[in-house]
Amino acid sequence: MEFMIEVVDLTKTYKKVNVVDHVNLYIEPGEIVGLLGPNGAGKSTAIAMISTLIKPSKGDVLLNQKSVINDQGSLREVLGVVPQEIALYSDLTARENLHFFGSIHKMPKDKLKERIEIVLQEIGLQDENKKLVKHYSGGMKRRLNIGVALLHEPEYLIMDEPTVGIDPQSRNHILETVKKLNERSNTAIIYTSHYMEEVEFLCNRIYIIDKGRVIASGTKDEIKSILSSEKTIRLKLEKPSKKLVEDLTLNPMLSNILAKDAEISLTVAKDTNFLPMILKLCDQHHVALNSFQIEEPSLEDVFLHLTGRALRN
């Protein structure tokens, strides 16, 4: 199989600590690949190396099997980057920002003009294009942040947590935009996030990263199959109970116990008859069980299973 972008043993070491540790991944044309991991997992550093912004301490990034470490130009021509921060001039309008960032990609004037109109429409800012960016809402800035990276029609788009700090409505708009962009233009996307539901919604394949290492990879189903012999139970209690959680933790039938207020999630083996045991424990601790739900394991559960920690700790 020929991979367009391939990352081989990518490592970045700062002060003798590997913040990215022998990461291997690939992305084929037209697919959306997710890098899922908690804050500080090394996603952004990996992204910076893949987009040729920083040089790796070890390893390589290949485009069509050619290293781009010392020949960044070939990758930069086909690459668009959406940084985590709002990388825009706040004292320029959306149109002026688009014009500037398009012009530094040396796009012909007519083509740039045409692309600005298309991108403004795609990101839903055609009516607000003459407003200074500093007067935009967080969601509008995020959309423009993405739009800027789309101007030169990159074949590959790297998006580093593009929905951080915005309202759910704007987030949905962005996710829909990304999905449509991929479907319509076949742009391959590397999407980093610590929001499991975003990655689940968008990505064909997923790499789960923790402490600089890829700890799981594959399609959604492949990754979830790590917990195929288990099921996730979500309990809603009348009130929080520390002692109940402690007793649940001691029970060898249960694992991945995560309590938040009066809600507890845990995993049990598929054939286990867990309910009598849980009802008994609730009774012992005088806590009423309001409801319970049996779910297929999510990526969050897989992450918890693999690391013992929640994604968004």
Partner: protein
């Protein structure tokens, strides 16, 4: 590169207030410093001359711009000296003058020289007129006045205490000193764009674009240079054309010799930008640095009056000193090109060093 430069000026157009205010501050302070620091020595006069003789002598005395002469009665003039209100009183007589001097007045010999010159000129003129026939007196008087107003040649002289032959013009010093000092802030505001763009990740977008990194640096540095240079040119032009400050024929030259200074400050700002990671720190460092550079470099007072060897040694690391040397060199001091070569070379050396280290550190930090 032109796209980056155009965008910089577009951003500048959106927020020109800081630039305009800085320019106004330079003009106002330069004007005030230029005016305020020309302190004239008050001198009390009394005379036994007739009105005509007195007015002739007074006319000559008023040409001595460092003194402020006021005519009193004899008793009152001497009282002024006794009370310490003036340091010196002059008694003007037919056959000469007499100085009544306070003990701490050190300029008596210099003032005496000036008065000797005036008296000898007036006495000579009177002698020529008196010795000439009556019918030609009027003609000879007008001829002497004409010769005095438009002499065939001038004899220049230098004060022996001033070994380098440096002259001092307070208006020009204030203008040059304050302009070179304040323009540091203007240039820094331009270079701060790089720090802000790195913080906001705009720099990353530029890095992965089709524009080579060196062009991105060049565009930013050109922008900072133009901001600073145009401000200096504007201020010097206002004082030359509107205020009428005497540049001793070196106005155009001053616009040229200021270029290495502006380049050096752009470089220094890049060096500081490499040390500071945030725009706030960068501004703080530049603010803290600019004041001592100005003090050491002679922007506030002439280095010729500084006696501390440490201060004089430290002044050699201030670009302002060399900027002032160049500007004074092409104006008030009328220095030769050879004399200007030294400050020019030092500024260019500083430019290369600061720029080299600054950009290298910036690039290395980008890899972290």
């Amino acid at each position: 590169m032109m796209n980056i430069l155009k965008t910089k000026f577009l951003l500048f157009r959106r927020k020109p207030a800081a630039y305009i205010i800085t320019t106004i501050i330079i003009c106002v302070f330069t004007y005030l410093m230029g005016q305020g620091q020309v302190t004239k020595e008050p001198i009390a006069l009394f005379s036994t001359l007739n009105n005509e003789q007195q007015s002739v002598i007074m006319k000559e005395l008023k040409k001595l711009s460092q003194y402020d002469f006021t005519v009193y009665e004899e008793d009152e003039a001497i009282k002024q000296v006794k009370d310490g209100k003036v340091d010196v009183a002059i008694s003007l007589k037919d056959d000469g003058y007499k100085l009544i001097v306070a003990p701490d007045f050190m300029n008596a010999p210099m003032l005496g020289n000036e008065l000797n010159t005036i008296y000898s000129q007036v006495l000579l003129k009177n002698a020529i007129i008196q010795s000439s026939p009556d019918e030609q007196k009027e003609q000879i008087t007008s001829k002497i006045v004409k010769i005095q107003d438009d002499p065939s040649f001038n004899i220049g002289y230098k004060n022996l205490g001033n070994e380098n032959g440096l002259k001092f013009d307070q208006k020009l010093r204030s203008l040059f000193g304050f302009t070179l000092f304040m323009v540091i802030y203007t240039i820094a505001s331009g270079v701060n764009h790089i720090v802000m763009e790195r913080r906001d990740r705009i720099w990353e977008r530029i890095t992965v674009s089709a524009i080579p990194k060196w062009k991105a640096y060049l565009a930013n540095l050109t922008y900072s240079f133009l901001l600073g240079y145009l401000q200096i040119a504007l201020v010097l032009s206002i004082f030359y054309f509107a205020v009428g400050v005497d540049f001793y024929g070196g106005y155009w030259k001053s616009l040229i010799v200021v270029i290495p200074y502006v380049l050096c400050i752009v470089s220094l700002s890049i060096f500081i930008a490499a040390i500071a990671n945030t725009p706030g720190k960068f501004n703080a460092f530049m603010t803290v640095l600019a004041v001592p550079l100005a003090m050491l470099g002679g922007a506030y007072w002439p280095l010729e009056i500084v006696t501390s060897k440490i201060m004089l040694a430290l002044s050699k690391i201030s670009p302002i000193k060399y900027g002032m040397d160049l500007l004074n060199g092409v104006t008030v001091n009328s220095s030769s090109i050879t004399d200007l070569l030294f400050p020019f070379s030092i500024l260019m050396f500083m430019t290369v060093i600061f720029m080299g280290i600054g950009i290298n550190v910036l690039e290395k930090k980008e890899q972290i």
